[in-house]
């Protein structure tokens, strides 16, 4: 991938030197070989900090809302999933298209630096996976939106996205309840999933409201379940499957399971539809727009 690093630096240097953008959102190496940390480059002289390697798993688009109230132009490196996140942000009017110079990365799949750190530190006996879990069934490894592209075109992986969903769906109601309560009981309500999510960009999140307080803060099964279910429903139709929520979770809750269930449902009920693929008007999330022919058999 070192060719990509060289290309990335070249592109960033040109953009900064010509003043096309005020900053470049990319990655730089950390102290450990398996850490490529998100970074912001503002000066052409600093572009040699940039890297593009197999540890660049972070969704750079998730931090774009930090710049929503400003006006400068931003260059952002975006893998397939990241680019879908950018489409979402543009559709949510968080960031206008004109402010972004998107350097797309045709993504061969990433490794999870946290898995490597956990293993190297001795905190975990589990061997880190060759490819991060979130990359295994990726259907959009090539960016759907970009101003220029880095890397060879990739093929979508084997679509096993709904294998786990089907397994749960085939459980009885009681079995399903047991399964979910067990998973939700682990939740410590750190809200990392929400903060990592590119679709979660409300200025005031429902879980921060006090008048009324929709979900209590205690970590009992009921409140945990409410939190998880409400958040999943809020991002239903808007989840771009970047998997950052599940990666951020410190207690290993299978968050993508709930999201994928809803992706499947939205696709079947209102689709075919996958979020974040296009900026066309009719590609808005089905739950964000009304059409006369929307299905209503369930009402």
């Amino acid at each position: 991938m070192s060719d990509n690093t060289a290309k990335a630096r070249e592109i960033a240097k040109k953009l900064l030197q010509e003043g096309t953008v005020a900053m470049v959102l990319g990655w730089e190496k950390g102290d450990e070989p398996y850490v490529s940390a998100p970074t912001v480059i503002r000066d052409a002289a600093d572009v040699d900090r940039l890297v593009l390697d197999e540890y660049c798993i972070h969704d750079r688009a998730a931090l774009l809302p930090d710049y929503r109230d400003r006006s400068e132009k931003i260059a952002i490196f975006a893998k397939g999933c990241d680019s879908r996140g950018i489409v979402r942000l543009i559709q949510d009017r968080v960031m206008p298209r004109e402010r972004l110079y998107i350097i797309g990365i045709n993504c061969p799949g990433m490794k999870d630096p946290n898995e490597y750190f956990r293993a190297a530190s001795g905190m975990s006996k589990a061997k880190p996976a060759e490819k991060a879990a979130k990359c295994l069934s990726c259907q959009y490894p090539n960016p759907v939106i970009y101003d220029e592209i880095v890397g060879e075109t990739q093929q979508p992986r084997d679509d096993k996205r709904f294998a786990e969903v089907d397994k749960i769906e085939s459980m009885s109601a009681d079995e399903r309840y047991e399964f979910f309560i067990k998973e939700f009981s682990k939740c410590i309500r750190c809200y990392a999933c929400r903060n990592a999510c590119v679709a979660c960009n409300c200025r005031t999140c429902i879980f921060d409201e006090t008048k009324p307080q929709w979900v209590g803060r205690s970590t009992d099964p009921v409140n945990n379940m409410l939190y998880q279910i409400v958040r999943s429903m809020h991002v239903a139709g808007r989840c771009v499957e970047c998997g950052e929520c599940e990666r951020a979770c410190p207690v290993g809750i299978p968050l993508m399971l709930f999201n994928r269930k809803l992706i499947k449902d939205v696709d079947q009920l209102f689709g075919p539809y996958q979020a974040g693929l296009s900026l066309e008007d009719d590609a808005l999330p089905p739950l964000s727009r009304y059409r006369v022919d929307d299905p209503d058999e369930f009402m």
């Binding site: 950390g30 972070h58 946290n114 682990k186 990392a192 903060n195 921060d208 290993g252």
Partner: protein, 336 residues
């Protein structure tokens, strides 16, 4: 020396659990932490890793803790019960870093004008069986934070002899009491304590707290905060982060006040009712966390709040690294 053989650990824990709440490092799926032991535990014992993802602070400071119950009907209201979770507790297998964090929590909750009665109830009858740490990881820097990883100040100190056999050293009268309970299990053996591997990661914090006192407005914070997403994982896995929220829950006329973990990373942490928020922006919250950890706590309690366990470094989804932050802050040249 006495030895706790690996095939007797469950039995030992069961004996101790007969008379106290015992907390041991355990793992459930991907979630590891210090959970309560029973002879049919949820999850498995985890004694062959460096440490657990979640720290043992939940033993004295649970994520959600009932404080008191009340009844409120019309114009009347009264507190019906104040909930104290007292009784004997034992932490089994805690590392020196986490034990140091526990001492920091004692400083917060038991000193400076008020004793937190809820914390006190959980803490006062807590026996500590610690594990000396011979194999630090790349994210460990407890020695730089003043932690003695081979000689934790505990009631009993265990040493990993390999294959999860532990040398067992009672250090206090309470430790002797516990040892007596395990008489039938501990065996007397000649042991060679393991060689302690060097802790490769070091950081020099001499003078850091004093330097930070003049760096509140430094532009370095903008750059340092840029990759943080205020997700709060660092504060939740940290063994010495203690900020909490107080909330109320009601059902009909009855209700209760409880407290739960909170985080300076969240925007509403300092949100005031009138609309003013002194830490509106991410950089301000990021700065608060690191200044608290590296300066304010030192100034107030004369102790280090960061104890170098490395959890935040390992678990941060966006690779924020406190060692990197310290290094960069130290490099900043302040104008004379």
């Amino acid at each position: 020396m006495k030895v706790l053989p690996s095939d007797k650990i469950r039995e030992a824990l069961n004996i101790l659990a007969g008379e106290a709440k015992v907390y041991a490092p355990m793992v459930q799926g991907d979630a590891s932490g210090y959970f309560q032991w029973s002879d049919n535990p949820v999850g498995e014992l985890l004694l062959d890793t460096l440490n657990t993802y979640m720290s043992p602070k939940n033993i004295v400071m649970p994520q959600t803790e009932d404080m008191y119950k009340f009844v409120a009907q019309g114009k009347d209201a009264q507190v019906t019960e104040v909930v104290y979770a007292g009784g004997p507790r034992i932490i089994f297998g805690i590392r020196s870093c986490d034990l140091q964090a526990l001492h920091d929590l004692d400083l917060v909750f038991l000193t400076k004008g008020y004793e937190d009665e809820f914390y006190k109830a959980r803490r006062q009858d807590l026996a500590v069986i610690a594990r000396a740490c011979y194999q630090p990881g790349p994210a460990c820097f407890c020695e730089s934070m003043g932690v003695d990883r081979l000689n934790p100040q505990a009631d009993v100190v265990m040493h990993d002899l390999g294959q999860q056999d532990f040398a067992w050293e009672p250090k206090t009268p309470k430790g002797e009491e516990i040892t007596a309970k395990l008489q039938g299990i501990l065996v007397e053996k000649d042991v060679t304590l393991p060689q302690a591997a060097e802790m490769k990661t070091k950081v020099d914090i001499t003078g850091l707290s004093e330097k930070l006192a003049g760096m509140f407005e430094d532009p370095a914070w903008d750059e340092l905060a840029s990759r943080c997403m205020n997700c709060g994982v660092c504060t939740y896995v940290c063994p010495s982060c203690y900020c909490f929220d107080i909330q109320v829950t009601t059902r009909g006329d009855a209700g209760g006040r409880f407290r739960c973990w909170d985080s300076c990373m969240y925007k509403e942490y300092t949100q005031m009712a009138g609309g003013h928020n002194p830490r509106e922006f991410k950089k301000e919250r990021f700065r608060q966390r690191f200044l608290h950890k590296l300066q304010y706590f030192n100034e107030r309690y004369n102790a280090n709040l960061c104890i170098g366990c490395g959890r935040c470094v390992i678990m941060c989804p966006n690779s924020v690294n406190i060692l990197e932050v310290i290094t960069k802050l130290k490099e900043v040249r302040l104008d004379a």
